[in-house]
């Protein structure tokens, strides 16, 4: 038996979402069983089945390198502080 990860996309603008896993002997049977397990009432109009052995799980160490890269974002606090200061100066 192979294990497949099931991704379903609801009709409309929603993104694909992981909805669960299931076993099937081959991709052909997987399609029928996935429909019966995950999409009995039109819950989606598109579905992806991914063989679990093909999923690459990214190493935590690869992901954990971005916490000190504050220059890659901007939370707007500098501008907010500057505006607040200007308002205070204008009011005085």
């Amino acid at each position: 038996m192979r294990t497949f990860e099931v991704f379903l996309k609801r009709p409309g603008k929603d993104e694909f979402r992981h909805v669960g896993s299931m076993q099937a002997p081959d991709p052909e049977m997987a399609q029928v069983l996935a429909r019966d397990s995950y999409c009995r009432r039109g819950e989606g109009d598109q579905m992806w089945l991914v063989d679990r052995s093909d999923v690459v799980e990214v190493d935590q160490e690869v992901l954990a390198t971005t916490t000190d890269l504050a220059h890659r974002t901007n939370d707007g606090s500098a501008v907010a502080a500057r505006r607040k200061q200007l308002r205070a100066e204008g009011a005085s």
């Binding site: 038996m1 192979r2 294990t3 992981h18 909805v19 669960g20 896993s21 299931m22 076993q23 099937a24 002997p25 081959d26 049977m29 019966d36 397990s37 995950y38 009995r40 819950e43 799980e57 190493d59 935590q60 160490e61």
Partner: protein, 310 residues
């Protein structure tokens, strides 16, 4: 490198910070054990419930109700499928081991599936009262649920239980508005099923219940049970049915003047008996389920991948 935690305190901080555990994480062994046991119990209960439902397909009155019971049976068995997959992926038992232990009488499942459904009205009491109790407790798990794969399948399960309950209430209304015979049939079923449904929530939670601490359960058993009683006592009474509890009373002073329905002290012996497979119908239920598993062996065998000819 999988995610790992130095000790249980470190893990608790992760949970308290809104963390979600995934199957490949190096989760603490007690978390894996407890969550696995909980999901296995849930899976077993869905399967046993689905088989009960199936028994009534041929006896459901009318084509529409037969269709509804067919679909509900497929839903419950489907829930069991999803849950056994999630449980098996935790690596403690395979799906086959879980099923074999269930059919050997070595595994537990919900108390309500250890009783016999005597008439069609019992099946409605189950569809309405029992499904509502199961729905309330599953929704409380879904609300937080720190185990990712469980939370994802619960989303589907909870939404399906929602309309099972509406089916149940619709069927109940037909009996409530029916003939005297129909009304007394439902009253008898309610007398049989009220306490098992209330007991489904279990005795008061241990304040140190790790499943509460790890946010698998979001509410204590007693909180859910109390809310259920507050909702269903007046509802069933409004249809003219009697709750089988001589000490049931409404205390207007309770809960800072908001008032609350108070029941007699609950006898937990019947619940404990079902956990030892000693319920009134435990033996027959388990043997029926085992026979069904044996009867469907050919399906599993047909699904086995065939060796490719060279």
């Amino acid at each position: 490198m999988t995610r790992t935690w130095s000790d249980l305190d470190d893990f608790q901080a992760f949970i308290d910070g809104g963390g979600m555990v995934e199957p490949n994480d190096d989760m603490p062994a007690p978390y894996r054990d407890e969550v696995f046991r909980f999901i296995e119990f849930h899976a077993n209960s869905e399967l046993m419930g689905g088989l009960t439902e199936r028994d009534w397909i041929p006896r459901a009155p009318g084509v529409r109700l037969k269709q509804i019971f067919l679909a509900k049976t497929q839903d419950e068995i489907g829930h069991a499928h999803l849950l056994y997959q999630v449980a098996a992926d935790m690596g403690l038992k395979t799906r086959t081991e879980m099923l074999e232990q269930l059919f050997d009488g070595r595994s537990r499942f919900h108390n309500v599936f250890h009783y016999q459904a005597v008439t069609w009205a019992d099946q409605i009491a189950i569809a309405y009262l029992v499904d509502a109790a199961a729905f309330a407790s599953q929704r409380a798990v879904f609300a937080e649920c720190t185990y990712g794969p469980y939370k994802r399948v619960l989303k589907r399960i909870v939404s399906e239980e929602g309309f099972h309950m509406r089916h149940g209430e619709e069927m109940l209304l037909r009996l409530a508005e029916g003939t005297d015979t129909q009304r007394s049939m439902f009253q008898d079923a309610l007398t049989r099923w009220w306490w098992p449904a209330v007991q489904l929530f279990g005795p008061d939670s241990d304040p140190n219940d790790p499943l509460l601490r790890w946010k698998i359960k979001s509410q204590t058993n007693e909180t859910l049970r109390h809310a259920y009683i507050q909702k269903y006592v007046p509802l069933l009474q409004s249809y003219g049915f009697e709750i089988p509890d001589d000490n049931l009373r409404f205390d207007a002073e309770a809960e800072d003047g908001k008032g609350a329905w108070l029941t007699t002290d609950i006898d937990w012996e019947p619940l404990k008996a079902t956990m030892r497979q000693g319920g009134p119908d435990s033996r027959r239920r388990i043997s029926t389920a085992a026979a069904n598993y044996a009867d469907t062996a050919w399906v599993r065998s047909a699904l086995e991948p065939k060796p490719v000819a060279a």
